[in-house]
């Protein structure tokens, strides 16, 4: 399909159940919200009504967790049909998912599992991306994963893979700064080289999130504020990118909305280069 990636510049939050009332009854100062697609790929009821009402107030980005773009046996048509129905319902700002796999045959792990970065994987992923973009009738964004293992078979870096993936399919990138930091720490990658290596002109959205220290690894938990190291990496990335939709992604231990808006303000000011980073911890 012919792919043209729209651009959007603004600051947003993930819409979580704890804040539904705020978003429905008050003027929350965000430029967009992001929702987990699967939570709204339902037949009816209150979730869809809430999304419809939020959509009347804000642009909405759809962020999926179950497409399983790296599945060797392809995508599930029934999943794509449900996603298309949701896309048609709300006309989203962006539709995104992850560079990972979750499902193989009849098993679905519901986790974002890692991929080896090989030519074979590239062929599979690109074939699946093209099928997904055809099915929903628009280009998608794919998010760089956080990972805890690497594969002997990999023949390219993650950022080289992302370059080739976007070139072959015309898809865009959802750049998760926390995931870059977590994976770089876990695997000894150079996060600056990662940032320099990605196709920055394909980035349309940024995720900022918190992580936790595991026994041997950093774990991408999304249950705490964005860390100082991630803010520092974001400051570097922000200077390299064009218009993007930047957001705080919090999935667990959800704080009051005002805390997330404070974090979003840090992101806004860092991008405008007037924020003293040492106060952001």
């Amino acid at each position: 399909m012919s792919v043209s990636l729209p651009t959007f510049s603004g600051y947003g939050l993930g819409l979580r159940r704890e804040h539904y009332r705020d978003f429905l009854e008050t003027d929350v100062p965000v430029d967009f919200v992001e929702v987990i697609s699967e939570n709204f790929m339902v037949d009816g009821g209150q979730p869809l009504d809430i999304l419809r009402r939020v959509r009347e107030r804000h642009p909405v980005a759809l962020h999926g967790v179950s497409m399983s773009i790296g599945s060797a046996d392809g995508l599930k048509p029934a999943y794509l049909r449900r996603l298309r129905t949701l896309v048609d319902r709300i006309d989203p700002l962006f539709v995104s998912d992850h560079l990972s796999w979750s499902r193989f045959a009849h098993f679905n792990s519901h986790d974002l599992l890692p991929l080896p970065y090989t030519e074979e994987t590239l062929v599979v992923v690109c074939r699946n991306i093209q099928a997904a973009q055809e099915a929903i009738g628009r280009p998608m964004l794919f998010e760089n994963p956080s990972s805890y293992v690497t594969f002997s078979a990999s023949t390219m870096t993650e950022w080289e893979f992302l370059n080739e993936m976007t070139r072959r399919t015309g898809c865009g990138l959802l750049l998760d700064i926390n995931n870059i930091f977590v994976s770089a720490q876990n695997h000894g990658w150079d996060a600056d080289a990662y940032l320099r290596g990605i196709p920055s002109e394909r980035v349309r959205q940024i995720h900022l999130a918190g992580h936790a220290k595991g026994e041997d690894m950093l774990i991408d938990t999304h249950d705490q504020p964005v860390g100082m190291d991630v803010w520092a990496l974001y400051a570097k990335a922000a200077s390299m990118l064009g218009p993007v939709a930047t957001m705080i992604e919090r999935d667990d231990a959800i704080p009051p909305l005002s805390d997330l808006l404070d974090e979003l303000n840090i992101a806004r000011q860092l991008r405008q280069r007037n924020y003293p980073l040492q106060e952001a911890a």
């Binding site: 037949d43 009816g44 449900r82 792990s109 519901h110 986790d111 080896p116 074979e120 002997s152 774990i219």
Partner: protein, 251 residues
């Protein structure tokens, strides 16, 4: 390495939780591999806890976790959505607690309420909108959120006490099986008991839809006069409560 082989090996390691030797051989660094096993299992436990809050409260943390672990070991997830994972949890409870049917029936209630919550929307009808209906050929359409089940225990009372945070109700066997129905009106999922006649009448509608056939079922149990009267009052109640959402006329 073939991608499909790696994914099969990864899947088997997640499900079996063994040493994962075939997978490990494909890894350049495996220090963080346990994080995936932990994520997989903790996420499934979390979704079961979220799907069955009253069952969790009834069983207690330890017993619920034991049932969840058994379920995860025997029922690997397959649906596109994590929200579906608890669908077969009743089977696990039946196996683990064969003498406590109240637990399985409590799970049915919670699952039916969840399904009903996101079932397709339906616009109800009002009795005064019906006009002249050819009742001999009328078919009653149930709301898509309608669910029904036969129960053997006082689980509805147990669930109600849990829901209202009242004094716990001891589980007891009923003298005879009874019906329980779940449906959604606007955005509220509703639950109530159905006496044997109403339950049979609803089953007739569920499988046939014919108003006449439903009346026959009721008449068979109550006789002509009382049966026709009861069928009429059931229909009025179902329309008023949003259980019947349309009356279609056809063959």
């Amino acid at each position: 390495m073939m991608l499909a082989d790696m994914q099969r090996d990864f899947q088997q390691w997640l499900v079996n939780a063994d040493d994962g030797a075939p997978l490990q051989r494909q890894l350049a660094s495996s220090l963080g591999l346990a994080a995936y096993q932990n994520n997989y299992r903790s996420q499934l436990v979390s979704v079961l806890r979220a799907s069955y809050p009253q069952l969790l409260s009834r069983m207690g943390d330890e017993a619920f976790l034991s049932a969840a672990v058994h379920h995860i070991d025997h029922h690997p997830p397959s649906s596109w959505t994590l929200d579906d994972y608890g669908m077969d949890f009743r089977q696990t409870l039946r196996v683990m607690y064969p003498h406590n049917p109240d637990l399985e029936e409590l799970a049915w209630i919670e699952w039916a309420l969840s399904e009903s919550f996101v079932a397709p929307d339906a616009t109800g009808i009002a009795i005064h909108e019906l006009g002249d209906v050819d009742w001999d050929h009328a078919r009653l359409r149930l709301t898509p959120s309608f669910r029904q089940q036969l129960i053997t225990t006082n689980v509805v009372d147990v669930w109600s006490a849990l829901q209202e945070q009242d004094e716990p109700v001891e589980a007891e066997m009923l003298d005879a099986q009874a019906g329980v129905i779940v449906w959604r009106r606007a955005f509220s999922s509703l639950l109530r008991k159905a006496d044997p006649i109403e339950h049979l009448a609803l089953l007739s509608l569920l499988y046939d839809g014919s108003f006449n056939a439903m009346c026959d079922v009721v008449v068979e149990h109550l006789g002509e006069t009382d049966g026709v009267s009861r069928a009429g009052s059931l229909l009025a109640d179902w329309i008023n409560s949003g259980i019947v959402v349309a009356v279609d006329v056809g063959d």
